[in-house]
Subunit: 418 residues, 2 copies
């Protein structure tokens, strides 16, 4: 069987399974999640051996050590996986929820019912924990899923696929509701993103290059996260006692996350006061600073920032710093160079806070809070399939609701249109 | 200037204007709508002359008479256009609305703010009234718009474009917030749908062929309506006094609309009772019936339906009729052959009504009501840019909210992430 046939077969099976999943009861979906957790527990020795074989092969092939790190499934990682499944059991089932039901002048009652999207294709790197995480979220939201993980994790993913199938079947749900692509042929990805008849939406998780390529070539809607060039703007009316911890936390809490600050904007009236203190703080944590001309006049020993810096997501202990003339310049800079992800203003001024919230065109806009809060768990979504930098369908952290749609429900009593 | 340069220039201008529109106050947008109405009033003689020239040219070129009909701007059509603008003034402004604001355990407050999508590209046929309708909805929802109407309406559209620009500028808003593509070069459409840097979403309005082609070629999300193959299912527990008017209204109220019933499903236990009465009713209105084998055993003189009939949107006084064994077969038929638009069950049975609502995978699902109710005005949206048969972003009738997105708003008091 060639890849095309294989993928179409997966697609058809997913479509069929999605119909059953859409009407599955909450209890049944929860039973499946618990059964999957149990199967993983039972398959632990097999899973560890498969992962070891993946890791050995990856090392032999000279895979980047950072990627090998993310490939490794420790005992602790497996325990976290299992705990994650139990957490998703506790989340409210979004499916079937009816809202906004009201009577119209014609006499009909109109409302909206939350429904699954159908079939979700997930494309991700060689991180076997994503397999369970993504499968569980799609399952709970009543969707069928086709998972295509990085080929370096294929052995562990096959073991996990088997656990998921057994768990689904134990709960009386179709085993095909979650399918893991079992070929490492790269053509499989090309097929997956161009089968609108079988796949309703693609969620890519990985590097920017991969996601850009998928967005360009997909014939199916893509819920995507490109990059996180996040800003903190310290206003002249900022409370410095709030500004310093926020600027510290936003940059240094974790360097490799998408909601980490990459550019700090400081009002020129407070630059002299704020920048030396922050420079000391960042210096103590070995954060490299790159400044605009005005910044360099205060912090004389740091490197100059280039035009390229303003549009760079470092994902590293590097921070670009720009002194601005006020709120307008800050907002313009963010809207021009940012990635519409997460931006925060530190100010005590009501009107400026209000303007920042309204005029900054980002998925998350904040006042007096660290950008690191932009996260599905912190926002109370209970779980997160990713963070969308798009505006269509889902924006910002995407939880179970982002994997659903709403249909209109109309109740009448023999009503006809006049 | 070539088409590519021209379209990029429109795109850049729209993007710039969209930033101003996003923060425009409700009052200012309403003033612009009223000013556009006034400009149209003033330009009426010019508009009628331009339209007459369009119509003459279309007739000379042998345009289909039905299309010429839709091209004509009567005095009444112009009055309706002006009234439409005033109606949109009365609609609530969705932009800036903050919902779901709540405190999280960390102490931050998280909610959502409704924001415009940005730049909306609208591609439609030679119907000048759509120019004003679409422009007004995009304007009220704080978006910038690029409008590409059918080339046969180019002269009237240019007059209208001028009225819109004057109205915007009179209200202090950027004239580029609504731009009408002033070239009839077809390459303009190809450009418009492949400029993700300038255009955030495309709304095509027109025939299925046009929309399929745009969806296939677009590199920008498309809010689309393909076809409306709508069903009414008359259950064995239907109240016949409700079933007959609903089946009549759903088919014969208007033949050419997307929410018109195209296939009638009847439970076999009531086929003998219902079908002859309906056949008489449809016969009196010259509706052609095409039946399945079981239907033909009751209505012996009608034409047989072919496999193709079940998947056909007639948009004409033709109806396919199928006798089914029960709810399961009805739901399976609808999900397989329908277009996921609008489907209705007629029944007094609580459990079957509930199952139909949950299991039929359509944008609108109804109980004891005519499919003709699937409409933005009937649903209380106040206006309608179209009806989406997609699941992503907007499903069913799309009003102002469908032209918006939501961003997260986070309010803190110096909060940092632990």
């Amino acid at each position: 069987m060639d890849v095309q046939q294989y993928m179409q077969q997966l697609g058809q099976a997913a479509r069929n399974a999605s119909r059953v999943m859409a009407r599955a009861e909450t209890m049944q979906k929860n039973r499946a999640l618990i059964a999957v957790a149990k199967e993983i527990e039972l398959a632990k020795p097999e899973l560890i051996a498969a992962n070891q074989a993946d890791v050995d092969a990856a090392r032999a092939n000279g895979l980047d050590p950072a990627m090998v790190d993310r490939l490794i499934l420790s005992e602790k990682a497996i325990a976290t996986m299992i705990e994650g499944l139990h957490q998703i059991v506790t989340l409210a089932d979004p499916i079937g929820e009816i809202t906004d039901m009201s009577y119209r002048p014609s006499g009909i009652q109109v409302g909206k019912m939350r429904v699954p999207l159908g079939v979700i294709g997930i494309i991700y790197e060689a991180r076997p924990n994503v397999t369970i995480d993504a499968a569980a979220l799609c399952l709970k939201s009543g969707n069928a899923t086709i998972l295509r993980g990085g080929s370096e994790a294929i052995r562990a993913n096959q073991v996990l696929a088997n656990c998921i199938r057994k768990g689904l079947e134990a709960a009386g749900l179709p085993g095909d509701a979650v399918q893991v692509v079992e070929t490492t042929d790269r053509a499989a990805v090309g097929m997956l993103i161009t089968m609108p008849e079988y796949v309703d939406v693609i969620v890519p998780r990985g590097g920017k290059g991969l996601i850009e390529r998928i967005s360009r070539e997909a014939r199916v809607p893509v819920i995507k996260h490109l990059d996180g060039i996040c800003h903190v703007y310290i206003d002249d009316e900022a409370d410095i006692a709030k500004a310093l911890p926020i600027a510290d936390n936003a940059k240094t809490h974790r360097y490799g996350t998408c909601n980490t600050m990459e550019t700090l904007l400081v009002h020129r009236s407070v630059a002299d006061q704020v920048l030396p203190k922050l420079a000391e703080l960042y210096n103590s944590k070995s954060v490299e600073l790159r400044g605009c001309e005005l910044t360099l006049s205060v912090l004389t020993t740091i490197k100059a920032a280039t035009e390229e810096d303003w549009g760079t997501e470092y994902l590293a202990p590097i921070l670009s710093v720009k002194v601005v003339s006020g709120l307008d310049e800050a907002i313009d800079h963010i809207n021009q160079y940012g990635s519409h992800h997460t931006d925060s203003i530190v100010t005590e001024n009501y009107t400026k806070a209000r303007r920042f919230l309204r005029e900054v065109d980002s998925a998350s806009v904040m006042v007096n809070a660290s950008t690191r809060f932009a996260d599905g768990f912190e926002y109370g979504l209970g779980a997160e399939i990713g963070i969308s930098t798009d505006k269509i369908h889902a924006r910002g952290p995407v939880g179970l609701d982002g994997l659903t749609s709403q249909k209109y429900v109309v109740l009448g009593d023999g009503h006809i249109r006049q």
